[in-house]
C-alpha cells in the first residue's frame, strides 16, 4: 500500500488486463459500448420494451450498433457484450426485459448452470484463490511444470 500522489494512467489501466475472467469498464470500453448501453437503458420505458419484444431485430436496427453487437444482443451472449463495451448495470435492463433474475443472468457468463451457480454462492462463492492474476497463475503453472510433479 504505497502512497502515490499521482498514478500513471497507462500502468493503472494495464493492470486491469491481468485479472482473470473480468472486463473492467474502462473509458475505452465505455466508448466502444456506448450505443449498446444506451440501447439497454431505453428498455427502462415500458413502451420501448413492448416494441423491442415485438420485433427485436427491427428495434436494434434503430441503434448505431455493429452487426456483431446486434448478434450478441439477440443471442444474449453477455460475455461477448462485455468485450464490446457493454456494462452489466446497463445490460441488466435486458435481463429484466427477459424476466431473468440478476443472479440467473450473471450465471450465464460463468462455467455453471444457474442451479450450480446458486449452489456455489450458498457454499461461500467463488474463491479468490487462483483467481487474482493471470500472470501469477501462469508463473505457478510454469513452476509446477518444472518441478515435474
Amino acid at each position: 500500500m504505497s502512497k502515490k500522489p499521482t498514478q500513471d494512467i497507462h500502468e493503472y489501466l494495464a493492470e486491469f488486463d491481468d485479472i482473470p475472467g473480468t472486463r473492467v469498464y474502462t473509458a475505452a470500453r465505455a466508448r466502444r459500448g456506448y450505443h449498446i448501453n444506451q440501447f439497454a437503458m431505453s428498455l427502462m420505458k415500458a413502451e420501448n420494451r413492448e416494441r423491442f419484444k415485438a420485433d427485436e431485430k427491427a428495434y436494434l436496427d434503430e441503434w448505431d450498433i455493429s452487426d456483431e453487437g446486434k448478434a450478441a444482443l439477440l443471442a444474449r451472449d453477455y460475455n461477448t457484450l462485455l468485450d464490446l463495451g457493454g456494462n452489466v448495470y446497463f445490460l441488466s435492463k435486458l435481463f429484466s426485459t427477459d424476466g431473468l433474475s440478476f443472479a440467473e443472468a450473471v450465471s450465464t457468463m460463468t462455467e455453471y448452470s444457474f442451479p450450480e451457480y446458486r449452489d456455489m454462492m450458498l457454499k461461500g462463492g467463488r474463491s479468490p484463490e487462483g483467481n487474482r492474476s493471470i500472470r501469477e497463475n501462469a508463473a505457478a503453472a510454469a513452476a509446477a511444470g518444472k518441478g515435474g510433479n
Binding site: F16, R23, Y25, N87, V88, V106, T110, M121
Partner: protein, 286 residues
C-alpha cells in the same frame, strides 16, 4: 451547530429491497441477513437523526452514459423511488434537506471538491435499500436525506484517498452549519461481489473482514488501498467499498465500533454492515 454523530455502512443489494417489499425478511434465506440489522433498527429509533448524508451509487437508473459525474450531491427538496425495470419500489418519497445540502455543496466547492449539483432525480436501490434496512417500512422516512452519488462504474473511479478526503471535507462543512442538527453519514455498497464475466460469483470473506478491521482502526491506512487490490481481491463490483471511505473519513481519526455484521451470501454478494461512532480527540487519553 450541526454534528456528525455516527457513521453507518451497509451493502445495498437490490434483492434485500425485494425481501422487504415481499415480506420475506425472516425466511430461512434472508433471516440471518436481517437479524444482523435488528440492533441498528433499535439504535436508530433512539438516535433519531435529523439528516442522513447517504453516499451511494446510481446503477444506470437516474444517470445513463450521457453524463458521468464523479461526485454529485442532491440539493433538491424530494426524490422519488426509481423505476428500475419492475416498477418503482413501494417506499415513501425521500425528503431532501436542500438548505443543508446547498451549504455542504458550497463548502465543498470552496474546499476544492468540484461537486456536481443535482436538483432533480429519482433514487434507486443504492439509496432506498439502506433506508429499508435501517428503518424498516414506515409510512414516511424518519429523517431527511442528502444523497451523495459517486461514480463507481466507469473507470477511473475516485481513489480511496480522494474519498477519504471528501469525507473529511464533509465533516468540516457539516460543523460549519449553524442549525443544531444530528447528522449521520452512511456509506453503502459492497462488500465483495462480481456480477460480470467468467469470474462472476467471487466472494472474499477474509479480505472483507480485514477491510472492516481497518475501518475500526485509529489510523487512515485503509485510504491507500489501490483500485487493483479491490478488483483482484473482492471482484469487479467490490470497488463500491471506496464509498465506505467517505463515511469513515467524515468521522475523524478515532472511532468506536457500536455494531458489526457479516454474512455470505445474498444473491451474488457478501453482506457487510458496521456502525461507528466518532471519538472526540480531546477525549482520547494522551
Amino acid at each position: 451547530m450541526a454534528r456528525i454523530t455516527a457513521g453507518v455502512a451497509s451493502s445495498h443489494v437490490p434483492l434485500l429491497g425485494v425481501a422487504v417489499d415481499q415480506g420475506k425478511t425472516r425466511d430461512d434465506y434472508f433471516g440471518p441477513i436481517f437479524a444482523g440489522y435488528d440492533w441498528t433498527r433499535e439504535w436508530e429509533k433512539q438516535e433519531k437523526p435529523d439528516v442522513v448524508i447517504l453516499v451511494y451509487n446510481d446503477h444506470a437508473s437516474a444517470f445513463d452514459m450521457k453524463i458521468v459525474p464523479t461526485f454529485a450531491i442532491g440539493c433538491g427538496e424530494r426524490y422519488k423511488s426509481a423505476d428500475e425495470g419492475w416498477g418503482p419500489r413501494p417506499v415513501p418519497d425521500v425528503e431532501g434537506d436542500a438548505d443543508l445540502a446547498w451549504h455542504i455543496a458550497q463548502s465543498l466547492i470552496l474546499d476544492e471538491f468540484d461537486m456536481t449539483i443535482i436538483n432533480e432525480m429519482d433514487v434507486d436501490h443504492g439509496l432506498t435499500v439502506p433506508l429499508s434496512m435501517m428503518f424498516g417500512q414506515p409510512d414516511a422516512w424518519p429523517c431527511k436525506v442528502v444523497p451523495l452519488a459517486v461514480n463507481v462504474v466507469t473507470y477511473p473511479v475516485p481513489s480511496g484517498n480522494r474519498c477519504w478526503a471528501l469525507g473529511e471535507a464533509i465533516k468540516r462543512a457539516v460543523e460549519s452549519y449553524p442549525e443544531d442538527l444530528n447528522v449521520q453519514i452512511w456509506g453503502t455498497g459492497g462488500m465483495s461481489h462480481q456480477l460480470q464475466g467468467p469470474r462472476a460469483g467471487l466472494l472474499n470473506r477474509e479480505w472483507d473482514n480485514k477491510f472492516l478491521d481497518m475501518l475500526e482502526a485509529d489510523n487512515d491506512d485503509v485510504r491507500w488501498i489501490p483500485h487493483i487490490e479491490y478488483l483482484r481481491e473482492t471482484g469487479s463490483e467490490g470497488i463500491e467499498m471506496v464509498m465506505w471511505l467517505i463515511m469513515r473519513g467524515a468521522l475523524g481519526k478515532k472511532v468506536k465500533t457500536l455494531h458489526r455484521h457479516y454474512h455470505i451470501p445474498c444473491s451474488n454478494t457478501a453482506i457487510g454492515h458496521i456502525v461507528l461512532e466518532p471519538v472526540a480527540e480531546e477525549a482520547v487519553p494522551a
